[in-house]
């Protein structure tokens, strides 16, 4: 019995695929939101920031594609992308991770001509320049790992080759979070993280690739180290950076280190920590508990990161088409609006505008004073009327990026040093 039903199934599947192929060749140009993709399941994994059930629900509604999401921490994401290529169809990873994952051959390059809104993607992810006048920040800037030379390209190229490694989905400029109610004075510089005034009340994140950048921002701001490139340090620079932080750790500067989003929220909300590295939605989470928390813009600039979705090398045929359809849908605005209302930025902000109210667009993107209450997509109140976003407009914030999250050449050395730092 089982064999018979299997045969039947495969014959039917064959007919269907054939039909779809016929339909595709007969009706080429205008993409009809997927009739043929109705029953397709795509497995996506990524960090908790963008792997949201709301997105899966909405994509099912709009395209009929079933999206199975797995949320992991940054390190596990890298691990899975590099070691378990058959466990996913879509990898939602950060750009600096691409540097590690691309050489494994687990992802396939994407044809930019199939991306409807390609031309509207923010310059940061294409030429590297936010505006034609911008300078490119240090670190693994997304455009440096965003393109390969062709469909089977193995090395990154520094121009818009038309073959993308990742489609940018979500990005932001990170800085330190503070508790203004527990710190009674203005905070303006990264140096404050090591200020003895906050002894036992500071924290940084225990994810080496990101933590080292925060450390570098601090050491550079202190005037202790002048880095050639914070995103690609020499051994000597790494040693000096850790020496400064190890000393601070031994003096009891840090209350704890955090590894996951919720740990950072709890540290801040409970008052264990008053100044720490933080991610934007964590600030939102603290505030939605009614506790004041500020994402403090600092004069040295931001440490920025960007995420994107990549396609598994094993995707082909209908699944691949469905994945492109999903990507086009992703950039078409709804997801962007959903993410921007949490404080992130969308790769194609102008399409997101249609999915945000004028008040929301003004507050989140243009840095204007809110005219009404700002609520998160989950219904929590984030700001009242008459408030301004920390750091101001999109161009103020993304224009002040000092460095990007990165993987450096001396990464293995840095990681060992990081282990020593944790154990010190």
């Amino acid at each position: 019995m089982t064999t018979i039903s299997k045969i039947r199934y495969s014959r039917r599947a064959l007919l269907k695929t054939g039909g779809a192929a016929l339909a595709a060749s007969a009706l080429p140009a205008p993409m009809v939101w997927g009739q043929e993709t109705k029953n397709i399941t795509l497995r996506q994994f990524g960090t908790g920031v963008s792997n949201l059930n709301e997105v899966a629900t909405k994509v099912k509604e709009d395209l009929g594609i079933t999206l199975e999401m797995t949320a992991l921490d940054t390190d596990s994401v890298t691990q899975r992308a590099a070691t378990q290529p058959d466990s996913f169809d879509i990898a939602d990873i950060e750009y600096f991770v691409a540097k590690k994952v691309w050489p494994t051959g687990n992802l396939q390059a994407m044809d930019a001509t199939k991306i409807t809104n390609y031309d509207k993607i923010v310059g940061t992810f294409r030429s590297g320049k936010l505006t034609p006048e911008s300078t490119i920040a240090q670190g693994t800037a997304p455009h440096t790992v965003g393109f390969v030379e062709g469909p089977d390209g193995t090395s990154f190229v520094d121009n818009e080759s038309g073959w993308m490694t990742l489609i940018p989905t979500i990005y932001n400029a990170d800085t330190l979070g503070i508790r203004p109610d527990l710190i009674d004075r203005p905070i303006e510089s990264w140096t404050e993280l090591l200020n003895p005034e906050f002894k036992g009340k500071a924290s940084i994140l225990d994810i080496s690739s990101i933590g080292i950048m925060d450390m570098a921002m601090v050491c550079e701001a202190m005037g202790e180290i002048q880095y050639g490139d914070k995103g690609n340090m020499t051994r000597e620079e790494i040693d000096k950076t850790f020496a400064i932080f190890t000393e601070a750790k031994k003096n009891g500067q840090f209350r704890a280190f955090w590894k996951t989003f919720d740990e950072s929220v709890n540290l801040m909300a409970s008052g264990e920590v008053v100044i720490q590295s933080m991610w934007s939605p964590a600030i939102t989470a603290v505030r939605s508990r009614g506790i004041p928390c500020v994402y403090q813009p600092l004069k040295e600039g931001y440490r920025s990161w960007g995420g994107g979705i990549g396609l598994s090398a094993s995707l082909s045929g209908m699944e691949l088409d469905a994945a492109y359809e999903y990507i086009n849908w992703y950039l078409s605005g709804w997801v962007g609006g959903f993410l921007m209302r949490q404080g992130y930025y969308s790769a194609v902000p102008e399409t997101s505008k249609n999915f945000m109210s004028e008040n929301e667009w003004g507050y989140w993107f243009e840095g204007k004073e809110s005219t009404d209450v700002i609520t998160s997509p989950f219904g929590d109140k984030l700001a009242g009327a008459g408030e301004v976003r920390d750091g101001g407009s999109f161009y103020d914030r993304m224009g002040a990026v000092a460095c990007w999250n990165s993987v450096m050449q001396e990464n293995q050395y840095m990681v060992r040093k990081w282990n020593e730092f944790i154990a010190a």
Partner: protein, 282 residues
């Protein structure tokens, strides 16, 4: 001849299971510990780099020292508490019904997960947590005690909380097997309570104590998550070293550390078994 074959056959299933799920993975770990690694992949080789780095790094020694420190302190505390609880259950509680009831009471915390039991300490011990606010309201302290949380203290507290039962159960089991007439005989012979404890009960509990000791030391030495959460990632033991390596895709280096840890734990257990011949005593 026939009998021998039957015996082999009877032993075969468990041998196969152990071979497939215990011996083979360990052999794999040992093999990988000699491999090399790049950022994103591992490649077969026969190099000693991983061990060389491990033994040349001062961090390794600190971390192994920490691991032993946690194991020793936790062992001492769980032994004292576990022995006392088992003694109470076995000798002070008279009826079997109450013994069973109280014993089950001890296991209630185990109905929730390990992680939850551990994490629930964090709001309790925090700077503005229950412990500090209570002590302040009683006037015992003026400033919150910082060392309550994210310190060696909180790590060991969590370990003791998590693992004391592993000491209670085997000791209780040994105590229940003690022939009560031996204790009566000791008393008739004029031994005081303390002398009975020292010369009769403790020696007869040795196998229980030893089994409990093996449980606790191996659990503590292999742990990484308790240390990470309760120290706020500020302390490290060998388990954390391994988990850090794994999360950064450095499998060969993680394997090398795991092999060294395994050997260390086996030596510890070997020494313990020297002290008491569990097989004979059981």
């Amino acid at each position: 001849m026939n009998k021998r074959i039957t015996a082999w056959l009877q032993a075969a299933p468990i041998a196969a299971v152990l071979l497939a799920f215990l011996v083979a993975p360990i052999i794999m770990i040992v093999i990988v510990s000699f491999w090399g690694a790049t950022e994103y992949s591992i490649y077969p080789a026969f190099i000693f780099d991983n061990y060389e780095f491990l033994f040349s790094s001062p961090v390794t020694y600190t971390v192994f020292f920490n691991t032993f420190k946690y194991a020793a302190i936790t062992w001492a505390l769980t032994l004292v508490i576990g022995f006392t609880v088992a003694y109470f259950l076995a000798f002070e509680v008279r009826t079997l019904k109450w013994q069973i009831a109280l014993f089950l009471l001890c296991t209630i915390p185990f109905w929730t997960s390990n992680i939850i039991r551990m994490i629930s300490w964090i709001p309790f011990l925090g700077r503005n947590g229950l412990a500090n606010s209570t002590l302040i309201s009683w006037g015992v302290i003026d400033e919150p005690l910082e060392w309550l949380l994210f310190s060696d203290f909180s790590v060991i507290l969590a370990f003791v909380h998590l693992y004391t039962l592993f000491m209670v159960v085997p000791i209780f089991n040994s105590m229940m097997r003690i022939d009560r007439s031996l204790i009566e005989a000791a008393r008739d012979g004029g031994a005081s309570g303390l002398q009975t404890l020292r010369h009769v009960i403790i020696p007869l509990c040795k196998p229980g104590i030893m089994i409990g000791t093996i449980f606790v030391t191996t659990l503590v030495m292999g742990d990484f998550i308790t240390v990470r959460f309760m120290s706020g990632s500020q302390r490290a033991n060998v388990g954390r070293l391994i988990s850090n390596d794994i999360s950064l895709l450095q499998y060969p280096s993680a394997s090398a550390t795991a092999v060294v840890l395994l050997i260390t734990v086996l030596i510890v257990i070997g020494l313990l078994l020297r002290l008491v011949d569990i097989r004979k005593e059981l």
